[in-house]
């Protein structure tokens, strides 16, 4: 896989993961182009698109589009299920996930993705194992929690 993008129906990018080295300008250009192309598709159309020498595989979940670009010889259907598994992981972790969860906890969305896919390839396809890894990390996080100032509690710093 070369990159994965999550974006809203309004074309706002919510998560971007690049597995090939590209400059920031290229990334912005590509995202713009891909988002535009996918948003222009009608509901019943097929989930695969040829784009440059890659294939775009996308699926819409509620208000969010999940979109992967894979090399020409990659398997489209299994990529579609990669997307679904990631959605399942997010859903399980956040408890019926919605766009806002991903906006406010974007760092978590990235961590979950890293546990599932690394360097563009599936690292661990078992839902249980991925969630276990994230849970362990969260345990470490809780132990490390320290008391905070009052100002911080109300979010003013």
């Amino acid at each position: 896989m070369q990159f994965m993008l999550l974006f809203s129906r309004q074309g706002k990018l919510r998560l971007q993961k690049w597995y090939v080295p590209l400059s920031d300008t290229q990334k912005k250009k590509i995202s713009r182009e891909v988002i535009q192309m996918v948003l222009a598709r009608k509901p019943k159309m097929c989930s695969f698109l040829e784009w440059r020498d890659l294939k775009i595989v996308y699926k819409r979940y509620a208000s969010l589009y999940f979109c992967c670009a894979v090399e020409d010889q990659e398997n489209e259907l299994i990529t579609l299920e990669i997307i679904h598994r990631y959605v399942e992981l997010l859903d399980k972790y956040f408890g019926s996930v919605c766009e806002l969860d991903i906006i406010f906890n974007f760092e978590k969305a990235y961590y979950i993705l890293d546990e599932f896919i690394l360097g563009g390839e599936a690292q661990e396809t078992s839902k249980k194992n991925v969630l276990k890894a994230i849970e362990q990390a969260d345990m470490l996080q809780e132990e490390a929690e320290t008391p905070r100032s009052v100002l911080e509690e109300i979010g003013l710093t």
Partner: protein, 980 residues
């Protein structure tokens, strides 16, 4: 499951995110962000040391701002500090920031690598995984240098945790992809292959991606993986859906792993060991059988996972291309999918069948689905599916069904989507030629093509029909008659006029016996189209007229009169005028014998590869023909071109392809020799070059062939595009160095000027002189040796990375390999701008100085503004056009601080150097500057307007660019903002 209460994270971050979300406008958002940036900056710079938590929070905010699309230029150091925190969440945020915002700052890379090294040796699996994820996400060469030796050890060590192994495998894969030379598997190979036997399915899943990639590059070293993969696959395929527990996905056992195993097997030929092969065939049969079983779930995930494996198995069956039974079963299975209600499955079935069509075992089976596919072409609602259907029709076409398929494609063309018309036209043209049994059908087809989709008929297509008609005397009469009839239509496409003009000029005599198509009637018919045609077509028609004078002396006076008319002999177009004058003289001075010799019928074209095929080959993609198939088609269809002829190899296509790309040669030559060159616009010249190329006319002056052939001394055509790569002797084989860090700055120096010193260090000085005209440019590079010792094996390479390849055509002449101490050598580089572009070509220089290799790369200062043509216009026009370019993406704007004194004259000089016209008295505010210009690329012209508003008080500028193309506005704005 930990509850994700929104408060457990960073409250301040959440507040900031909601603030941003509540911003009503882009401006408000930017304001809020700037406020936050200022706050964070002051915290980072403050005297009070920040605690880890605050640091983490601010780094996370910066990350959020960056992901919103804003630039971040600080905070890297704080993020690196977080890496060495012993609190997990701080470390995690640090790593995330580094992964997303890598900075090639070498100082930092060293620090980052140190932190990673510590975590890798911490023996804490969670920390190790974080470090490995970071390496896999960044994957830079520096990281490969630091860790490529260590990671294989972690991967195969007996005491490594499974989760760490998984990360290590994919981390290594990423490093192998970026720096294959640094990842040496050697001693580890066999242990890595044996990870396929690992107990933990997750480890196998991760490892197999690595093994597949390594096998593609070193198949022999990894070939033991075949039998391991087969047995693993066999165990999965035969397992019950519950055996694999959490690796079962919607009742399908281990779909990802299965697909990857099948993909790995596609790196190898069928197993030689009979037992292994038997087991594999059994697996494939089981997979095909399972496709027929009733689904275990109604969920689309179940069927997707199951079919993903099925399609991968079919790919393997096609790859082996040796099991007729499996191939036919695969074809039948895909046939069922062709009518499935899931669009995705129809799409994939069409795509997969396309490859099946090329196998001799399944070609016939594929053909049985022709009606379904034709139906798909007509009724599918999604253009990408229709495209697949057209590809499949093309792939399944052979002599038996060619007429039907060509007819269907032609009728589809009438309504086809614009995006695929050109490709369809090429395909129809190729099929018509390849499977033509009688030439009249071929001629009819091509003329229909022109009639239906004339705009999409490229030059290659109509050149080809002319070549074929000229080479086949049995079709010439029919062709003449048919074009004559086609030209009767009141409105016919210009391409039809071209073909008609050429064919009647050559073979009009074959139908002149019929009073309805007598010479004069033919001439009048052609001439009635003349005034509606473009210059190149008119030039062609003039040539047809002179041929008429030769063929039919009775038309001489009529035609001479036409040639003599002011609109011809004084035509403002040089090419047309020259032809009219020369032809008129030729017809009145030359005797009939001379005339007949000069205008003799065209000799047959030598056999050459169809230029249409060459063009389609360039249009890559499934359904485009494979090279093998082309060769085959040639053998089969060879008789069309007189059969059995030796094909001239690649050279034979050069004339055609050069002619169709207005070659840089003619114009660049003109650039050098000054204004004396009379050449017509390249398009006019090139048309003739092709049509007449075989007859010996090899320059744009038409009658040049009457003169003895001369060596065209400085013809740039002589050195083909590839030459610059191969020219320097392979003196130095090291990879090119990455561009110098200052190369962007150097590039900026040349945006508004064309000459100067590009680069200088203690050894070498590089000077530049360049000139541009329209979409062409020529650059002289002067390499000066500043030392007293000679440079040897001096080589330079110019490359266009990535997309730029299709946007710029850059040809560098070879340079002297030896530069004496104190001497200077010169190199000429020719540049053609094909489309608008953002990047700059790279110049790599390698040489040895006192035995040491010097290797440096720079950016050649070729920027899009070099191709500007200034456009003068009045105030009214300017603002009218300004308004026309009012779509938001057409505008790019930057507000920036002046970095030089704001001197009006200097600003003016820079704007003029930019290449646009500086318009006076246009802007109501006399302080402002406005400019207009058109960028000339081969593909299109891009009009651009500029407005620069200085604010002397604030020492700021506001720069606004509007162009018909968004990428151009943006690029110009970036370039210019650095200039003032």
């Amino acid at each position: 499951m930990p509850a994700v209460s929104k408060g457990d994270g960073m409250r301040g971050l959440a507040v900031f995110i909601s603030d941003i979300r509540n911003c009503k406008s882009k401006e408000a958002e930017i304001k809020r962000i700037n406020k936050e940036l200022a706050n964070i900056r002051s915290k980072f710079k403050g005297d009070k040391a920040l605690d880890g938590y605050s640091k983490k929070k601010y780094v996370c905010k910066l990350l959020f701002i960056f992901l919103l699309g804003h630039d971040i230029d600080f905070g890297h150091m704080e993020a690196v500090n977080l890496l060495s925190s012993n609190k997990y969440t701080e470390k995690q945020i640090g790593y995330l920031f580094i992964s997303v915002l890598v900075n090639s700052n070498s100082e930092l890379i060293r620090l980052i690598n140190n932190a990673i090294k510590n975590d890798l040796s911490s023996r804490n699996p969670t920390f190790m995984c974080l470090a490995l994820h970071c390496i896999a996400n960044v994957g830079s060469r520096e990281m490969a240098e630091a860790f490529a030796g260590e990671i294989p050890r972690i991967l195969v060590a007996g005491d490594t945790m499974d989760s760490v192994k998984q990360s290590a495998a994919l981390c290594l894969l990423r490093l192998y992809k970026t720096s294959p030379d640094l990842v040496l598997m050697g001693e580890w190979t066999s242990r890595v292959v044996h990870l396929l036997n690992d107990q933990h399915m997750g480890v196998v899943t991760a490892a197999i991606s690595l093994i597949t990639c390594l096998s593609q590059k070193n198949p022999d070293e990894f070939k033991t993986c075949v039998s391991l993969a087969v047995s693993r696959l066999s165990r999965i395929v035969s397992s019950a859906s519950t055996d694999l527990q959490d690796y079962t996905y919607y009742f399908v056992p281990a779909p990802w792993l299965s697909c990857k195993l099948l993909r790995l097997l596609q790196c190898y030929p069928p197993p030689e060991d009979g037992a292994v092969k038997g087991r594999l065939v059994e697996c494939l049969e089981t997979i095909l059988n399972k496709a027929q079983e009733p689904p275990k779930s109604k969920k689309v995930q179940h069927s997707n996972a199951k079919n993903a494996i099925l399609f991968e198995a079919i790919s393997l069956i096609i790859h082996y291309d040796s099991e007729p039974n499996l191939l036919v079963r695969a074809c039948n299975q895909l046939g069922q999918f062709l009518q499935h209600r899931e669009t995705n499955l129809r799409y994939l079935a069409l795509e997969s069948m396309c490859t099946l069509a090329s196998s001799e075992f399944s070609h016939e089976a594929v053909k049985t689905h022709i009606e379904t596919v034709i139906n798909a072409l007509k009724t599918e609602r999604d253009v990408s599916v229709r495209q697949r259907a057209a590809d499949l029709l093309y792939a399944m076409c052979d002599r038996s069904n060619a007429k039907q398929i060509v007819a269907e494609m032609l009728s589809y063309l009438e309504t086809a989507d614009y995006s695929i018309r050109e490709e369809m036209v090429l395909k129809v043209a190729i099929l018509a030629e390849k499977y033509a049994v009688d030439y009249s059908w071929y001629v009819d087809t091509i003329l229909n093509l022109i009639r239906i989709a004339g705009d999409y008929v490229s030059e290659e297509v109509w050149y080809r029909v002319i070549q074929i008609v000229i080479n086949r005397d049995d079709v010439q009469g029919y062709a003449a008659k048919t074009v004559f009839e086609a030209l009767q239509a009141p409105a016919c496409h210009e391409n039809m006029v071209k073909v008609g003009g050429y064919i009647l000029g050559e073979f009009g005599n074959l139908i002149a016996g019929d009073p309805r198509s007598s010479p004069l009637v033919q001439f009048n018919l052609l001439h009635s189209k003349f005034h509606l045609c473009s210059v190149p077509t008119r030039a062609l028609l003039l040539s047809a007229y002179i041929k008429f004078i030769n063929l039919f002396p009775e038309t001489k006076s009529t035609i001479q009169e036409v040639l003599r008319s002011d609109s011809q002999i004084r035509n403002s177009d040089v090419e047309l005028q020259q032809r009219a004058v020369e032809y008129l003289k030729l017809s009145s001075i030359a005797s009939t014998d001379v005339l007949a010799t000069v205008l003799e019928e065209m000799p047959p074209f030598p056999e050459r590869e169809s230029s249409i095929l060459a063009k389609l080959k360039k249009k890559k993609g499934p359904g485009a023909v494979s090279v093998n198939e082309l060769e085959e088609g040639k053998r089969e269809g060879g008789e069309l071109n007189g059969g059995g002829g030796e094909r001239g190899g690649d050279n034979s296509t050069i004339a055609a392809s050069n002619a169709s790309t207005p070659s840089p040669s003619a114009d660049l030559l003109g650039l050098r020799t000054g204004p004396q060159v009379s050449a017509a616009p390249p398009s006019a010249g090139s048309l003739l070059v092709d049509v007449f190329s075989e007859a010996g006319v090899n320059d744009d002056g038409f009658l040049r062939d009457l003169e003895p052939p001369t060596e065209s001394s400085d013809s740039l055509l002589a050195e083909g595009p590839g030459d610059s790569d191969s020219a320097p002797p392979s003196a130095v084989s090291e990879d090119a160095a990455p561009p110098l860090p200052e190369s962007n700055e150097l590039l900026n120096k040349f945006v508004c000027k064309n000459n100067g010193v590009l680069f200088e260090n203690q050894l070498l000085q590089i000077g530049i002189k360049s000139e541009y005209r329209q979409n062409l440019g020529r650059m002289y590079l002067f390499y000066g040796n500043k030392t007293s010792v000679q440079f040897v094996t001096f080589t330079t390479t110019v490359s266009c990375p990535g997309e730029l390849q299709s946007q710029l055509n850059v040809q560098a002449k070879p340079v002297e390999p030896l530069i004496e101490g104190g001497a200077q050598v010169q190199q000429v580089i020719n540049i053609e701008c094909l489309g608008d572009f953002c990047e700059a070509p790279l110049l790599n220089i390698k040489f040895r100085y006192g035995g040491a290799l010097q290797n440096l790369s720079l950016k050649l200062p070729v920027t899009i503004n070099k191709f500007f043509q200034p456009t003068e216009m009045a105030s009214h026009d300017f603002f009218q056009r300004w308004k026309q370019l009012s779509q938001p993406q057409q505008e790019a704007q930057k507000i920036f601080k002046a970095s030089h004194a704001m001197d009006t004259e200097v600003i003016k000089a820079k704007l003029l150097g930019l290449g646009m016209a500086l318009l006076e008295n246009v802007d109501p505010n006399p302080e402002n500057f406005v400019c207009a210009g058109v960028i000339q690329t081969k593909a299109q012209q891009v009009g651009s307007l500029l407005r620069l508003e200085p604010n002397a008080q604030a020492q700021m500028y506001r720069l606004t660019l509007r162009s018909s193309k968004d990428t151009v506005s943006k690029r110009l704005c970036e370039l210019l903002a650095e200039q003032f």
